[in-house]
Structures are given as C-alpha cells and as structure tokens.
Amino acid sequence: MIRFDAVSKQFPDGTKAVDELTLEAPTGKITVLVGPSGCGKTTSLRMINRMITPTDGRIWIDDQDTAEMDEAQLRRGIGYVIQHAGLFPHRTIVANIATVPMLLGWGRRKAESRALELLERVGLPASYAKRYPAQLSGGQQQRVGVARALAADPPIMLMDEPFSAVDPIVREQLQDEFLRLQGDLGKTIVFVTHDIEEAIKLGDQIAVLRGSGNLAQLSDPAQLLAHPVDDFVADFVGKDRGYRALSFQQSPQFPLSRESSVPLGATPEQAAAAARDGWVLVLDADRRPLGWIEPDRITAPVRSEMLARGGTVATAGGPLRNALDAALSSPSRRGVIVDDQGALLGTVRAYEVLAEIEERARPELDEADLERAGLRPVEETPE
C-alpha cells in the first residue's frame, strides 16, 4: 500500500504542482492517476520514489515513511517504467533487464538467467537478448522497459505514461499483455496517463486530478463513468459514458437463437438452404465464426474473400458492451456469441441485449468515493 498524506510540491519558481494530495494506492491493485497536462500526476508519481522531493506532507509505503529511507535503496525496491523506455543504448537487452539485479549484487549469472526469463515473460524471443535497444521497435523497447522494471521482483511498480509513445494498435497489445501480466503478478501499481480510455481499461481505481494535483475524484472505473462528481470530471471522462460503462457489466445467459451455418466451400444452394433472412454464418473446422455471407449474391462455392467481416464477436458471459457491439456490428443484425474457445454458441439481437440493460440498475453512487476525494455529495448536473 502506498499512502499520500497531505503531500504538496511547490517548485522554486512558486508554481504549486501538487497541493495537499491525500490518496491511497491499495496493495496488489492498479491505481491510475489521470488528468490533463500540468495536473501534477507525473510529479505525484515521481514523489513516490523521491525523484522529486515533496515540500510538504508524507508518503508512506506500508508503514514506512519514504522520506526516512535511503534514496537508492527505496528506488531499487520499486519498478520504474517511463514513457520512452529509457533503455541504456550501450547495453544489450539482457544487460538492460539485469540492471537492478546487478545493482543488488545478485551476480552476473543469476541476473542474466532472470533477465532471460523476463524477456520471455514480456513476449520477446530469446534471440533478442544480445541485441541493442536501437535494433528494437518502440513497442519492443517498451516491453524491455517493463521487463527491466520487473527484474528484481519489486512489490511496487511506478509507470509514467509507459504506452503513450507507441502507435494505437501496439498500445492496445501492450495494455492487454500488461493486464495479463498483472493478473499473474499482483503488483501494487501506480500508473500515470493522460488518456482516460487507458485509465478506464487498466485501472482498478482511478484518481482524476485537476490543475495542481487537486484530487477531483477517486473511484473505480464503473463508478467514474456512472457518477462523475462534477462538470470537470464529467467533461474529462468524455462522451459515450453510458455505452462505455457497459464494459463493466457482465452479460447474463442470453436466450440465444440457434444459428445454422455452413463451412467454407459450401455451394450457393447449400448456403441458401441454411440462410435465415438472407444471411448465413460461415464457420471454420473448429466451429469458429469467420464471417457472414448472402447466398443470393454468390454464384460459386463460398471462399474466404467473399465474407462480410464487419461483425464483432462476443464471448458468452463477457461484458455487455461486447454483446451489444456484436449485435450492432453484425451485417445480419444477429450478434454472434461464442464460448471461451471461440466456437459458435448462437446469436442475440440488439433489442434483447438492450432489454437486459434496461433491467439493470445503474451502479449506486458510492458516497465513500466522495469523502475520499474530500467532497460532499453533489447533485449531478446534466451535460
């Protein structure tokens, strides 16, 4: 657990970067600090490992006051990942990852075998071990940055916009793998980003900061979307809140419609016989959906490139958002639901998903959230 106790930072030129921030980052959870630029989120993060010294207040790690710990010792016990990875250009990838173990005096052999293990863990082939950072893409460098921070197995990780310098597709991969990794490791993580989507995707708990490190709201993602405490937060969280909030609600067992299907290579006649309302689903040998086809429009056996691929696929029991999106994006208007192996279970219509959504209650306002942010409950103002 990391605890900010009325922490302030005033720079010599008089600007207040952080003003009496009180906040707790629970053990084993991801706490995201999010806010517009200049809101003091990076300053707050860097005060945890004393890269920046607070002018006032205390930061505790469990029961220890960080101000009383040896700086270097404190930092060696905290994983640190930054925006441009900050790899050492003159060292090989394996030597980069082994940095902290070497500082801790593990010995070369042990440090290197640990580094190789982590290289694999972050999804890079062992053949990269002897390469240099300049030989890797930005996304790969960032993976190495994460591996390097994990090398000495610190209980705490600080991550300062680690995925913001890579392109959106790579960013999404990195985020997914980061969540998978965190699922295994359960580190106490403080994560800084300016991207609210990223905050909502990754955070167990989100701290929205406004100018000069003022905590505007501290909530879990579902609460943040359902109950922004004021206009600032509502604005910052952005549009589509209702839709995005569906990410945090599990789908029930929908009454699925049976969907007949054809394999690739089916003749137009076979496809037409199986079709319903003009569309039929095409599956691969493992019954995984490949796409939809309109039998009326084909004259030859079904080939892969004939398929309409616009429809998304939702996993049964997954978020309601995915189920609704599957229905909305399906060319046949029938949303495809699959099991955990990706095999077809059946289809669901948008109105069926909506009926389920309407029956659900909106998440209750958690008043403790407001108290934690030092706010009294406020009437929500419509946008």
């Binding site: 890269m51 404190l74 930092r75 930054i82 003159h90 240099y132 030989q135």
Partner: protein, 232 residues
C-alpha cells in the same frame, strides 16, 4: 626537388644515432603523449563533472573558444620567460613546451567530455536514477560509456593538434621532429625541412588511424550501430 627529399629520407644515416629520425620520433611522441595524458587527466574529469551537474557550463564554452585563439608560439615564449628563471636544467625548457601543448590539448578533450555527458539521452539518465543508481553509478554505468564516442573524438583531435604543434619544442632547443624543421631552416637545408614536415604529417596520420581502431573496439556497438552478426 622531390628526388632530393626522397634521397634525404632514404639515407640510412639520417635515421640512426642521437639526432637521427628514430630518436626524434620517440622524443616527439614522448612530448605529445605526456602533454596529452596531463591534459586528459585535467579535462576529462572536469568535462564529466560539468556535463553531469550542469554547473560551470559557461566555463566550457568560453574557455574552449578563448583557448583556441591563443597563438602557440607566443604562449611558448611567454611561458619560457616566466618559467625558465624559476626552474633549472632541462626542465626549464621542457615545462614551457609542455605547458603550451597541454593548454592546446585541453579544449577539445574538455568539450568532448562535456558534450558527451550532456548528450546522454535524458530518459536513460532518468531511468538510471529511478532504478536506484547513485551519482557515481550513473556516471560509471551510463554517462561515461554513452559519452565515450565523443570523449574519444575529443582526445583524437587533441592528439592531432599536439603532434603537429610539438614541433615548437625545437624552438627552445629541445628534440622531437621539430629539430629537422628548425635546423633545416637555419642551414637552408630544404630537403631536411621538408622531410621533417612530411614525417610530422605521416606520424599524425598513423596515430590517428591507430586511434580510430581503438575507438572502434572500446565503444559499444549499441552506440555505433556496428551490430556485427547479431543484426536484424
């Protein structure tokens, strides 16, 4: 004319003995390396310190600019008239000559070391500190190796200048390849003067090439882009 220079250089007698080419070559290198080592011992730590702390940046900029404008020969006489009465024996001549060479060698090494450290990627330095390296560890593990290419370039250009300028030691009656220039001029022995100049140039080039090889072997491939077999 060229034939006379070749003849002078080809004469075995000119290569041997206490005033032969080989002996002068050794002297020349002694002057140059001594001056270079002293200059490096002063300039590298100073440059690293300034680059690491950012303190005294103006010193580098101004001192380097000013030092380049100093006329070597003028400084030599000045140093000689100032030092010679205070010293005795050969040192009275060696010290002023050495001083000129050291003063000449400091600016390129200093600016190389400073620029090398200052040019280290801020993210790499930030990561180093954030992972718990102490000041000297950051210097040893990150700043120094990353600055190495520029430090070595600084030393290399200082080496060239010092080898070229070490000829002025002969003005004070000392040895080195400058002897051939001075003595040749005095006795109007043009082939000797020209040969001296050629020898200095060849020595400078040879040392420069040797240095390039050293540079290639000590700088990390991660910085030079020479990845060898393990490339993509």
């Amino acid at each position: 004319m060229i034939n006379r220079i070749i003849a002078w250089l080809a004469d075995v007698a000119h290569w041997q003995g206490d005033d032969g080419i080989l002996r002068r070559l050794v002297e020349h290198m002694e002057y140059a390396t001594t001056a270079l080592v002293i200059a490096a011992l002063i300039a590298i730590p100073l440059g690293l310190y300034i680059g690491h702390t950012g303190k005294g940046r103006f010193l580098v900029v101004n001192a380097v600019g000013a030092a380049r404008a100093i006329p070597s020969l003028g400084l030599l006489y000045l140093a000689f008239f100032w030092l010679a009465p205070r010293l005795s024996g050969e040192v009275a001549f060696l010290a002023p000559a050495g001083l000129v060479l050291v003063v000449l060698a400091i600016p390129p090494i200093l600016s190389g070391a400073y620029a090398g450290v200052e040019g280290v990627e801020p993210a790499a330095r930030d990561a180093a500190v954030g992972m718990g390296m102490r000041g000297t560890e950051v210097m040893r593990h990150v700043e120094l190796p990353c600055a190495l290419p520029l430090i070595l370039s600084g030393i290399r250009s200082a080496m060239l200048q010092v080898i070229a300028t070490a000829t002025i030691a002969a003005v004070l009656g000392l040895g080195g390849l400058g002897r051939f220039l001075i003595d040749g001029l005095a006795s109007q022995d043009f082939p000797q003067t020209a040969s001296g100049a050629i020898l200095v140039a060849v020595l400078a080039l040879a040392v420069d090439m040797a240095f390039a090889l050293v540079q290639r072997s000590v700088v990390s491939p991660g910085l030079t882009g020479r990845y060898g077999k393990v490339s993509l």
